[in-house]
């Protein structure tokens, strides 16, 4: 008889497909995974501890670096939390600017996800197409706030910089351009049999499991649960816009793929409406020079491209938070990975991991 052994494979912290420094200790029986243990913490920078020594405005650049692919939503969650705590009102133009940049950021983040997911699956070209379109968004952000990736754009009470001349028109042009590009993406990838064979039916889970594990974003909606914080617990001015929330049925990687592409389309719809309604006005509300929220506690949650990002602030009335905790969607979403990987062949590990769409900066905070 042949004696077989379990092979312990380390999908190490440095790996082209783990989207960052994620380590997965995988026990293999031949090509089938019998156990997978994620090890995180390689990118832990102690943001929450640092926040206890920083004023609220000083924390905003740190939030950019948590989910660096989607920095605007991070900015927003903390500004929204402080504004809720202080019950400040944000002027209309600032709200619109915030919404426009957040939706643009959602598109950019999904493009990064799409490109890298396909790169992991083996197709080389979609990555470059996606990044070329993302360049347009990044350039828009560059014009707006001077940075390409970590924007430090929002402030408690509004935003820091106003839209320059012609910026809104560029957003409009981008919407039209992106709609065409989405058709190209579908032509190139979405119908490809090899691709479909790779991701259909992979990484399935049920709605109960998804809810139990606290999944959010496309990971929750792929199982049929229609839960999008922009619609179900609206914040900002999202309740003024018409858009649909794509929902899947099977809970597999293919549904997540379709949902995220559809979310790009819905974001384009929101952007179209927002640039039509874009008002004049102030970009910063009436905010004291030193932001000193009153004593109390607040937890706000918003819909980032990866899921529900939340910010829990305990304030003692000082200008620095007493405790600042971020509920990071990638951290919570990653918990289901060990369960999904058991019994799958090795080749599916990367497909499933890519489908969860994590960013390590957010997992580790």
């Amino acid at each position: 008889m042949i004696r077989t052994e379990e092979l312990l494979l380390n999908v190490g912290p440095q790996h082209p497909s783990t989207h960052g420094v994620l380590r997965i200790i995988v026990k293999l029986d031949g090509e089938i995974i019998t156990e997978a243990i994620p090890v995180i913490g390689y990118l832990h920078r102690g943001t929450e501890k640092l926040a206890e020594d920083l004023t609220y405005t000083q924390i905003i650049p740190y939030t950019d670096r948590m989910d660096y692919v989607s920095a605007m939503t991070n900015n927003y969650v903390i500004c929204h939390a402080v504004e809720t705590l202080m019950q400040l009102e944000v002027p209309e133009r600032a709200q619109y600017l915030r919404l426009i940049v957040m939706e643009l950021q959602r598109i950019a983040s999904h493009l990064v996800w799409w490109g890298t997911y396909l790169l992991d699956i083996g197709a080389l070209s979609p990555f470059l197409f996606a990044f070329k379109d993302r360049e347009i968004i990044i350039n828009l952000f560059n014009e707006l706030c001077g940075a390409r990736l970590t924007y430090n754009y929002m402030r408690v009470g509004g935003v820091k910089w106003d839209a320059p001349e012609g910026w809104i028109q560029k957003v409009r042009d981008f919407v039209t351009h992106m709609r065409e590009q989405l058709k190209t993406y579908d032509n190139l990838v979405s119908g490809n049999e090899i691709f479909l064979a790779r991701i259909k039916g992979i990484g399935k889970y049920t709605a109960e499991e998804a809810i139990n594990y606290g999944l959010s974003g496309a990971n929750l909606r792929c199982t049929g649960v229609k839960w999008d914080l922009r619609k179900d617990m609206p914040y900002g001015i999202y309740d003024r816009f018409e858009f649909d929330v794509p929902v899947g049925q099977n809970g597999d990687c293919y549904d997540r793929y379709i949902i995220r592409l559809e979310e790009i389309r819905q974001s384009l719809r929101i952007l179209e409406q927002a640039v039509e309604q874009f008002p004049e006005g102030e970009i910063m509300g009436k905010v004291p020079r030193v932001i000193r929220p009153p004593e109390g506690e607040v937890y706000v949650r918003i819909e980032s491209p990866r899921g529900e990002i939340g910010c829990h602030i305990v304030s003692k009335g000082k200008d620095k938070p007493y405790r600042l905790k971020f509920r990071r969607p990638s951290f919570v979403n990653l918990q289901i990975l060990p369960k999904l990987l058991v019994g799958q062949p090795m080749a599916n590990m990367i497909t499933i991991l890519g489908g969860v769409d994590i960013v390590l900066g957010e997992v580790d905070c």
């Binding site: 929450e48 019950q87 009102e89 594990y213 009436k286 905010v287 020079r289 030193v290 939340g310 919570v332």
Partner: protein, 341 residues
């Protein structure tokens, strides 16, 4: 800088209180939430300095207004809600300032003058923010400007006095102008009732509405009963709190607590549960991983960073820090073993 501080809250509160002052002047004696507290906060110094002169003038203002002092929280609420309503009230301010001056000889109960001059002062301040500090206002200004400035100074003094009063606990009949009951109060009552009936009558230590957080019902549960409460709220058909949004650990220096924000995806109700543990050496809170699987890594993170143990957790080990780390970094009294690291 403190003037700017003063300026904006003054502006907001001024308009708001100007509104109220106007109504009070009309409907004398109406109870209202009055001049907001935060306005007073940044100017203790000035209040002190301006103390001397306006002390006797403190009695004026809307004596009619016989409002009781309200809890600072309510005042704070109203103040913060009175955001830039600034634009409105230029007209009413003048008559009010005058009214303030003329109303004069009200019996200076500390509470009333505390509020009224504050409003007047605030009104004055909002009208001409740059003129607020009395020192800047030399003669030549309008008579009412002077009056306003004085009223402002008086207001500050009165506020200081009121604060001193409160510190002594000297607020007679200190019941707040009855706050409106929170819209979520019925939900809070219902869940308290359910838990008391079905889990344990002592399970709940405290149940309040967190108004700042959009009126979130917040319950503090005893650690011994926490697991049963968690199972109950998840499975009970009226509550069905099946989604654990957030699990944070907080280190208050006297105790530690974990905060759970749960949502029901069907009814969209959200609740907040807190579980306190007084023991700082070996803090321990039952794990709810078998109720909400989302708690798994969250509890590991709380254990790693704060040191709270979760008995019942399937795999409680460090998650963020290296496995051989000593200490729990997020604690307030954390000192790294090796400061260089």
């Amino acid at each position: 800088m403190s003037e700017e501080n003063k300026r904006e809250p003054n502006g907001e509160s001024a308009s708001h209180s100007a509104d109220e002052a106007k109504e009070e002047a009309k409907a004398s004696g109406a109870d209202q939430t009055g001049a907001p507290e935060p306005v007073s906060k940044p100017q203790p110094a000035e209040a002190e300095s301006a103390n001397a002169a306006p002390a006797d003038n403190a009695g004026k203002g809307e004596a009619k207004a016989a409002a009781e002092p309200k809890p600072s929280k309510a005042a704070v609420d109203s103040a913060s809600e009175a955001t830039p309503a600034n634009a409105a009230e230029s007209a009413p301010e003048t008559p009010q300032a005058n009214a303030a001056d003329s109303a004069g000889e009200a019996a200076p109960k500390a509470e009333r003058p505390a509020r009224a001059p504050r409003e007047a002062g605030a009104a004055a301040a909002s009208k001409e923010p740059s003129d607020a500090p009395a020192s800047e206002l030399k003669g030549g200004a309008d008579a009412d400007k002077e009056a306003k400035a004085k009223a402002a100074a008086e207001a500050r003094a009165a506020r200081a006095a009121a604060r001193a009063q409160k510190a002594e606990g000297g607020e007679a009949g200190a019941e707040a102008a009855p706050k409106e009951p929170s819209p979520n109060q019925p939900r809070l009552d219902r869940i308290v009732q359910l838990i008391r009936e079905h889990v344990h009558p002592d399970a709940i230590v405290e149940a309040v509405i967190n108004e700042r957080d959009r009126h979130l019902p917040t319950l503090t549960i005893k650690p011994d009963h926490w697991r049963e409460v968690a199972e109950f709220v998840k499975t009970h058909e009226e509550l069905r709190l099946n989604y654990l949004s957030n699990l944070s650990g907080v280190d208050y220096e006297t105790h530690m607590e974990t905060v759970y924000h749960v949502v029901s995806l069907e009814t969209k109700d959200s609740y907040c549960f807190k579980v306190k543990t007084m023991d700082r050496e070996e803090p321990s809170i039952p794990s709810v991983t078998n109720v909400w699987a989302a708690a798994n890594w969250n509890e590991r993170e709380v254990y790693d960073l704060l040191g709270i143990h979760f008995p019942g957790h399937p795999d409680l080990r460090r998650i963020m820090m290296p496995d051989d780390w000593v200490g729990h970094p997020l604690r307030k009294d954390y000192v790294p073993i090796d400061p260089e690291v």
